[in-house]
Symmetry: C2
Subunit: 448 residues, 2 copies
């Protein structure tokens, strides 16, 4: 399929150019939904605008449902409000809410007002996109303890749930409180006369609607769940989250962390429009320039020392390079462990002490090596001492700041990944140069 894709898009583009709408739509409809949405996304804006009026509401719904969420606001600009609400009406409520979240507020209100499924979707709009409530679908069939297996199956047949939301069924008491779960497999395998209360698993893992989406994923992964019931403050069942809806969340979060660490927006894409990329990267590059100039300013303070021992200039990139790498190692592992839930404030002290201990040992090893290399290279013991001492201290600062910066950011409820590389590099650079040139200044009589 993938290797044919470049051909398919050319065929589709040609149909559109020829205004052969029937063939264009036939081609799209023959693809699997996810591939259809991808192919549609590859069209230019003007091609989309031309093709859209010829799609049925069902076809548009299928494309919207399967399209990358970033492309949705783009499409929504190409169709009128009525068409959009007709299409969104045909999409599962959780996805519909997702789509409405992506539209400008006035557009979203207009589309919602025209929808027949308004009542199912509206409550979901109250939840943040990145909360359990924003991920859940309210489409569920709740069972009761007193039902027999046979009655439960009849209830399912009557409800005819439109989507795969019944692989796991939840059991609620008369106050709608969640009390148990039964899988569809258990229902099929059980005797028809058995009571649900007797076959259900009690006290299933659940999550409250306001919880962050990372926590949903972590919980589902930890317990190996395919569905997670969502409850309100009164423990009443309000929806469920399906694993296939959140499987990508962990990946997206990891990507966001990687991007934020180097000062990229989480929304950056390798083929995003140039203007967007410049807008996203240039500000960070300018901030970084500021911190780099700060480091340069520190070096400049020691101009007279460097003037006397010019060789010190060659040590500047050695200190900077090594501090940056050691800091990046610690930083990356701390940011990632925070994201994966392996590290929290509870065990933060232990982690920081461990990183400092590691920095001490690795720092000693690297410092000795660096000092020895310089001695062999320059034949001057004191130059080796200066680099070695500065290297050791720099690696300690790198370990300490690499561990502390993300923890401090988290303490202030800022994403621990946010530009943390820039901060840690600045701290190690500035401290490193003070160590290098400060020690050299102290030992200047032995060096010059």
């Amino acid at each position: 399929m993938t290797s044919q894709a470049p051909l398919l898009i050319d065929v589709l583009k040609e149909y559109i150019e020829q205004k052969n709408w029937d063939e264009a739509i036939l081609l799209l409809s023959r693809l699997r939904a996810a591939d259809e949405a991808d192919l549609f996304s590859e069209l230019s804006n003007s091609e989309k605008r031309e093709l859209l009026p010829h799609l049925s509401y069902e076809e548009l719904a299928r494309i919207l449902e399967n399209m990358k969420k970033d492309d949705i606001s783009n499409i929504s600009e190409q169709v009128n409000g009525n068409t959009l609400s007709q299409a969104v009406d045909r999409i599962s409520p959780d996805q519909a809410a997702d789509i409405l979240h992506r539209l400008p507020a006035t557009r979203s209100a207009e589309v919602l007002a025209r929808m027949t499924e308004k009542k199912a979707v509206q409550p979901l709009l109250g939840y943040a996109d990145d909360s359990a409530g924003g991920l859940m679908t309210p489409e569920l069939v709740a069972l009761t303890r007193g039902m027999t297996v046979d009655e439960a199956i009849s209830r399912l047949r009557k409800a005819k749930p439109p989507r795969e939301t019944i692989d796991v069924l939840y059991v609620a008491d008369k106050h709608k409180k969640l009390v148990g779960k039964v899988t569809l497999r258990q229902l099929i395998l059980a005797e028809p006369t058995m009571k649900i209360g007797d076959i259900m698993e009690h006290d299933p893992v659940s999550i409250s609607a306001g919880t962050e989406r990372e926590e949903c994923v972590r919980l589902m992964e930890h317990y190996g769940l395919t569905a997670l019931p969502v409850v309100d403050e009164q423990q009443r069942l309000v929806g469920l989250i399906r694993l296939q809806e959140v499987a990508q969340v962990a990946e997206e979060e990891a990507t966001e962390d990687m991007y934020q660490m180097v000062g990229l927006s989480g929304h950056e894409r390798v083929f995003a429009p140039m203007r967007d990329s410049i807008r996203r990267r240039l500000p960070w590059l300018c901030i970084n320039l500021g911190t780099a100039i700060l480091a340069g300013f520190v070096v400049n303070l020691f101009e007279s020392t460097i003037a006397r021992v010019v060789t010190l200039a060659a040590f500047i990139p050695i200190i900077a390079g090594q501090g940056a790498n050691a800091g990046a190692q610690t930083l990356t592992i701390v940011v990632r462990s925070l994201a994966l839930g392996e590290l929290s404030f509870k065990n933060a002290r232990k982690a920081v002490l461990r990183e400092v201990a590691l920095a001490t040992i690795n720092g000693l090893a690297v410092a000795l090596l660096a000092g020895a290399v310089v001695y062999l290279w320059k034949g001057d013991v004191w130059l080796g001492v200066v680099l070695g001492v500065a290297m050791f201290l720099t690696m300690m600062v790198a370990g300490l700041s690499g561990a502390l910066v993300p923890l401090i950011l988290k303490l202030f409820r800022i994403d621990p990944a946010l530009a943390s590389t820039v901060v840690v590099t600045t701290v190690t650079d500035v401290c490193g140069f003070v160590f290098l040139l400060g020690v050299a200044t102290l030992l200047i009589t032995y060096l010059a």
Copy 2:
């Protein structure tokens, strides 16, 4: 649950100290399986060794099945071969194969030889741990087109599949070739007399057993699948992969990429034993020291220029810091896009050109800014010109190497993330210093 965990472990440790095995086991058995395995993992090796003989095979199996894979070889050392094979016999074949993969070869052979379920597990051992075959379970109930819905349900009841492997059922023809799929939900909702061939979805997405695990995840995420059928070279159904088994794969791959970029092993953990962490980090720190010294060597080549214009030393960290950040931005986005499948050799040329264009624009902006700052700081136009020109060229090299390094690594079938930050930083440092000090040397008469 989580907030109680530190208490629970203390209680468990106390039971073990008191040799109160009944209470210890009761405590473990009351927890959800994943929490039980976590709690057990928190015990010290000697505590594990003491408790293990008192666990039933079922309890040991439950712990092994839910434990982090890294901890398994540790446990396997604490129990004898017979106990281990009895426990592994009680685990689903795909998980059992996973566990056997983690054991030393002789131990694995010994355990396998004693197992009753040997026949189910052995074929799985032929597949690499990180392939579709290594992820799949062979436990499946295949249907045929000619069956009625009622017959299919009876077949399921007779097979009594022990685990959730029947939420999606696959249909095979008489040559065992995969021809369709039916969800359990469709079976329950359909008329009992309907034929499977009439309700099944034709031509379901499948994957061949040798495919890499990243590809399995990508496919399941792309098509929103909860189960993926695995076929052999003859398109015969040999197993299925469940989404809950692979949901963590994408996250693990992302973590590995982040770690490898800064020269950390993918197995590094924030609370790994110190010795392991030193063994994993120190070699990269030494390699990095080598590249940093290389950069220092380049600076040293221009010693006479720096001696005449000492201010140039202050520009070294500015060039290094800015080149590193610009390079890291491009590198991160290229590595991540390769991992997510958004970027491949097919569209690599476009991506490289785009990054170079971005580097040109951002480079010009940053160069002008840097030059202006230096002019205001030092009151010398020529110093501004030197830094500006060097900055622009460095940012171009950063963009180019950030895009090319991971692509070249991939071309040689090396993980594109592997130590790519170290390589890109070295390239930008070395080139950046040559630009800075080279331009300064050319313009020396205007500077000194």
